[in-house]
Amino acid sequence: MTAEVDPVTESAMSYVYAVSRAGTPLDEALAGRPGLEGGPLRAVRAGELMALVSSVPSALYGTEGMKAQMEDLGRLEVLARTHHAVVEAAYEHAAVLPMRLATVYLDDERVRGMLGEREPEFTALLDRLNDHVELGVKVYADPREAVTVSSGGPETDTAASPGRAYLQRRRAQQQNHRRTYRAAGAVASEVTARVAGIAAAHVTHRPQQGDLAQAAGENIVNDAYLVHGSQADAFRAALAGLADDTPGVRVEITGPWAPYSFATPPAPGGGGTR
């Protein structure tokens, strides 16, 4: 918000991108590379763990500053992409637990305290996620596309009155709509069935909507699968061509991602989205 923030003279805080085991190639691999606001990345170690951290100005990353940044979509995009880029770069060198965006501590000492406190939990998670990647699977239903594919569209009785012809077309549209969504539902169950033996875990995300969901059609399934790195190709192969013969239905695979969606211990009440 306020200009004139000099990151050198201004007090700095420690922004945490990810946590990993100490003593892996990651310890030194990213040191000095730029993080948020251009601040160089560094490793903060405690016990068996290390946190990937960079210094950020308090004025921008305190409670008020952070809130302002996150409500500005342009700034939020920079934050999110930078955070993600650091996590992605880190995860090329070692298994990491990505932190949620905006995990900020007053200083490195506080980061070490957090690592010490969470060590058992974090080491267990890192063991579980080691050598695994996250793959996203999205299923889209697009009734409009289904119409253009199916031959010629609904046949209309030209002799009928305009009202009746209109209703006939509406009915055909609704039938097409229902058919497409039913087909998309069937494709979605097929996805689950085909990767059941390949994926180690599975979570359901909220379907994407809004301006950022740029794809055509409606996103009806937005899932993430935890897959062993050696199985990623098999996973993709299992889903290849799945919806090719289903007009109006599309399957999209994203990733590999750092295991964002699996970095939290499964909630006792079942794996929800929240």
């Binding site: 805080m13 946590v19 590379r33 993080g35 251009g38 990353y61 409670t63 952070m66 809130k67 996150m70 409500e71 979509l73 342009g74 700034r75 939020l76 995009e77 920079v78 999110a80 992409r81 930078t82 993600h84 880029a85 650091v86 992605e88 637990l97 990505p98 932190m99 949620r100 965006l101 905006a102 995990t103 900020v104 501590y105 007053l106 957090m114 969470r118 974090f122 996203g136 409009r144 119409v147 009155s161 305009p162 009202g163 012809a165 209109y166 077309r169 509406r170 909220r206 994407q208 909507q209 809004g210 301006d211 950022l212 740029q214 937005n222 991602w257 964002y260 969606s261 970095a263 939290t264």
Partner: protein, 148 residues
Amino acid sequence: MGASSAASPYGQQQSSANLADILERVLDKGVVIAGDIQINLLDIELLTIKLRLLVASVDKAKEMGIDWWEHDPSLSSRARPGSRTEVPGTPRDGAAVDQVEAENARLRAEIAELRAAVGLPAASAAGAGQDALPGRAEAQDVEGEESK
């Protein structure tokens, strides 16, 4: 995208992932620990992701001509003659709706005349003023109501 993402030191070549996929992971997933800075992510999520993007999506959809729901009388009370654009994929639909509405107007006028002829009070939708000049006045009343 564009200018704002250029400010990220890693740029976009690093990851071809789209912003929605990234945001849903960095905002909604990842290890949640209480840092020293408390941000209510639920607020942020509602504000930024839900409201702003949802609003944006409607505008975007309109830009692309996907606005049939606004012009479909069975889906929207805002469907009115004059504000119509062509329905993508079903080019003759707009004309057909016009015809339906013309037909409706004719039928309403006819009903009003018949009611007047047999001495029934006007349909409630027509409102007050049913005494003077039944037939035509009635029909105009109904149409006036329609095009508001």
